[in-house]
């Protein structure tokens, strides 16, 4: 007998109000377990939500364009086999990260101040949890919207001219202030409380960005035929984050050449063995390994500034992100706990994640929690570049194309395979000398294959 179960949106990495961009099934359709049901789009990636079990769809409960969060009902499914209990359990939220899901309505413990903020932008409230901010940078960015005033809502706010003048002076968006006066009238105290909440939220990149001088507008069509195409969705998202990092972090880039002649020889030697295990052993795998050794020797490079900007958060884990070039744009999959992995495992995961990235199948979780990032353009070319730090990380390693170069050694030039490295670092956290020491250490490590295998 068929059991009707509710299929819910699974844990999607703490994102809320995510858009449903496609509904892939319809009422009455027979589906297999793992059949994609809907496609949702987070700030980082699009992902399919698979069916928890096989069965017949009784009723689809949402449509394209809806916003969903973890636990939202996707559809009613008449499950085929007799494991309804398990099926129903699977999609249930099982948060892995520390709980940052805020209580739905503000609890009595929440200050009256919090009460004054209408819970319209859902990301604003959790942003107040500083510990959660590094893990969820997207949330921290949202209070930026506060700086802008919704004039239509402002013009309807239940507030007298004097209160409106006060709000204008402070730049407070009255449309978002909840009045505590008679019949919900907005009082001066309400405006103050609203502003206080905004001010105590962690600082975000965007307000600074709004103060930047604008790039001049040019009517390109005046100079010849043009064609306008939108940026890809990922580019729109990564663009804002790259700009935030570029504006907020004082970047310095340190360059060095690593002699990987011996490493390359070792890699070629191991390649066949790796291939037997179905692993493509790339130089990047060794670079990941070398980076972990360097990060252990220089823990500041594996740290982040806390919300106050006055403390360093040292991480006792080594999650290495690597920039992956995909048809849709730049994504950064993260190899979790890479220090626990052998070189073959690293190589395998690199291969798998790159494949998923290109296919747009990376899960949100697979792009979170990085502590250091590598951007390798060595497969393409170039001699050096200045990568932008994947904030709130504090450093990023850029890798360019290796080439044979004459190296002066013991009275003569000998050809060596040299790998150009470019290390960008957050100068607030890392001194120049320390960066130089790090990159020299890294280069030396790369020169010593024994340490890496």
């Amino acid at each position: 007998m068929a059991n009707s179960i509710e299929v819910l949106v699974p844990d999607i990495g703490g994102f809320k109000d995510v858009s449903v961009i496609d509904v892939l099934v319809k009422d009455g359709q027979q589906i297999e377990k793992e059949t994609p049901l809907i496609t949702i789009e987070t700030e980082k990636a699009a992902m399919d939500v698979p069916a928890p079990s096989a069965g017949k769809i009784a009723q689809v409960k949402l449509k394209s364009g809806d916003k969903v969060s973890e636990g939202s009902v996707i559809l009613l499914l008449e499950a085929d086999n007799a494991e309804p209990a398990e099926a129903a359990k699977e999609p249930e939220p099982k948060p892995v990260e520390p709980k940052v899901v805020e209580p739905k309505p503000p609890e009595p413990t929440a200050a009256a101040a919090a009460n004054a903020v209408e819970p319209k932008p859902p990301a604003a409230a959790p942003a107040a949890t500083p510990a959660a901010a590094p893990a969820r940078p997207a949330a921290a960015g949202t209070p930026a919207a506060v700086a802008r005033v919704d004039e239509a809502a402002f013009s309807k706010a239940y507030a007298s001219p004097a209160i409106r003048k006060f709000a204008r002076e402070l730049g407070a968006d009255l449309g978002r202030v909840k009045g505590t006066g008679v019949k919900g009238r907005i009082t001066q105290e309400d405006v103050k409380a609203f502003v206080k909440v905004i001010l105590t939220s962690p600082p975000s990149a965007a307000p600074a960005a709004t103060a930047l001088p604008k790039v001049p507008l040019v009517d390109f069509a005046a100079f010849g035929a043009v064609e306008v195409k939108p940026l890809s969705r990922i580019q729109k998202i990564s663009g804002a984050r790259l700009q935030a990092s570029w504006i907020n972090l004082p970047h310095v880039t340190q360059h060095e050449d690593a002699d990987i002649t011996d490493l390359e020889a070792a890699r070629v030697e191991l390649k066949a063995k790796a291939a037997q295990e179905g692993v493509r052993l790339t130089p990047l795998a060794f670079i990941v390994k070398a980076c972990i050794l360097s990060l252990k020797a220089f823990p500041r490079f594996n740290a982040s500034l806390d919300a106050s900007g006055e403390n360093l958060v040292f991480k006792n884990y080594y999650n290495i992100g690597f920039a992956a070039d995909t048809p849709n744009g730049l994504v950064v999959p993260v190899i979790a706990d890479a220090d626990q992995l052998g070189i073959f495992d690293i190589a395998r995961i690199l291969g798998e994640m790159s494949e998923k990235a290109r296919a747009g199948k990376l899960k949100v979780k697979e792009m979170q929690g990085g502590s250091f990032t590598i951007s390798s353009l060595g497969g393409i070319g170039g001699t050096a570049f200045t990568p932008i730090i994947n904030a709130p990380e504090v450093a990023i390693l850029g890798v360019s194309k290796s080439s044979q170069k004459p190296v002066y050694e013991r009275g003569g030039f000998i050809p060596r395979l040299m790998l150009p490295l470019s290390l960008s670092y957050d100068h607030r956290v890392i001194d120049g000398a320390e960066a130089a020491r790090f990159i020299v250490f890294l280069a030396k490590t790369l020169g010593d294959p024994k340490a890496l295998v």
Binding site: Y158, A159, P161, K165, R168, E169
Partner: protein, 569 residues
Amino acid sequence: MSTVEVRVPDMGDAKDVKVVEVLVKKGDKVALEDPLITLESDKASMDVPSSAAGVIASLEVKTGDTVSAGALIAMVETDASVDTGAAKAAPAADVPVREAPASQGLDLVVLGAGPGGYTAAFRAADLGMKVTLIERWPMLGGVCLNVGCIPSKALLHAAKVIDDAADMSAAGITFGAPHIDRDKLRLWKNRVVTKLVGGLSVLAKQRKVDVVRGEAKFVGPNTLEVNGPDGLRRLEFKQCIIAAGSESVRLPGLPDDPRVIDSTGALELPVDCKRLLVIGGGIIGLEMACVYDALGAEVTVVELSDGLMPGTDRDLVRPLQKRIEKRYERILLKTKVAKLAASAAGLLATFDGPDAPEPQMFDRVLVAVGRSANGNAVNAAVAGVAVNARGIIPVDRQMRTNVPNIFAIGDVTGAPMLAHRATHQAKVAAEVAAGHKSSFDARCIPAVAYTDPEIAWVGLTETEAKERGIAFGKGVFPWLASGRSLALNRDEGFTKLLFDKESHRVIGAGIVGTNAGELIAEAGLAVEMGADAADVGLTVHAHPTLSETVAFAAEAFEGTLTDLYIPKR
């Protein structure tokens, strides 16, 4: 012979400036404007010219001293013949104006001394700014005080007295036909204006606002050229508020004849006006029609659209239209003046429209078809300020134009062209110029036609609400049931309040009847405060007053009104 003090002039905000050179010594003979000392601030060096001609009696500064505005430089023994000239020719502010680079320009120049301009100048001065106010006419006050609101209201009062006196015959009080001495009436009206305008000059002096007479045009991003009675003069400014106002639109194709007049001409009360044609059935045209009608002229009003006072709720206009239809010679709607021919006998108007009469002869034609903004008249574009095709300068909520140090306020920023809008914008502009974070944030601006009966409205109109599909509730109280109105011998007025359907807050109001312009203020406050129907209805209004009708309209909406029986729907 007398001895005068020569002091360091106003140097903008420069203080403790170094004397780098003393150019004269005791006993030297100096002419007016001869340089005495050279000062060097962190921005520029400048010579201080002598404000008097004569012989240096004593020198009070030496090289290396630091001085500020007002410091004594020298005593000069003058010969009497140049004394007066010297005093006149050296207004202190001239010195930095002529010599200083842009960064040292005047703090704030306000262009135009109408209600917006003088308000901005005074507010800025009160906030500690050094303000220069430029006006092309000899009198401050602009159109409003000199040839607009104020003189027209004086004449409308006269008209009302005439009409009221005549109306009292119904109550058994009959006066003889009034003897109207137009010259004396004109003088009286002018005295009203002079009293107000004179007051303005005093206010400017008390605030040390420097008033410059002349017609100003921008000649650069920080420079104005003022063509005044004293010749051409350049002013450098740091910030500028354009309050250049508007002027009557002239209709093309009308003869260039002194008998074709605008509102300014109409206020001059030509003595021989027996038959007046008013082109334009808007507020200004109808107000002047009211005056001339009371003074005994035959009035014809011609309006292009299908109703008087286009844009105003029809129900508000109806009582006015009913009254003037009876009194005036003709009201021609959907009609235009196809031709106007001037001859010694008068102005022959040919009409074009469904009810157009035969060509008619008038001895005055008042053109009141609207006003156009003066954005182009001051060459704002030269300073980089955007001016649209209709001469309007667009501004943001802080009254800034697209050029951050140049503001614009009042009629020059477009509709509604009303003095009370200008004065509120003026304060915002002045405050922002002085570094405050002010914004123009009014939710409603009242409009008043001082016709008889008066028509006033504020906030959302019923017409607009219907056009925009806004759900609203309505409370109307006809003055037929107002004891006060009946006692005033009038019964045609009514008070109408519009409410938000859900919150019951007042979102608009329209009033027609005696003193509607005064009564509308309460509705404006209600809109701004977000007062709802109960707030207004439960406020005790004095009885018997016309103001009661506002509360009654709220009660009519609430269903608590007892002065009328309104069956429940």
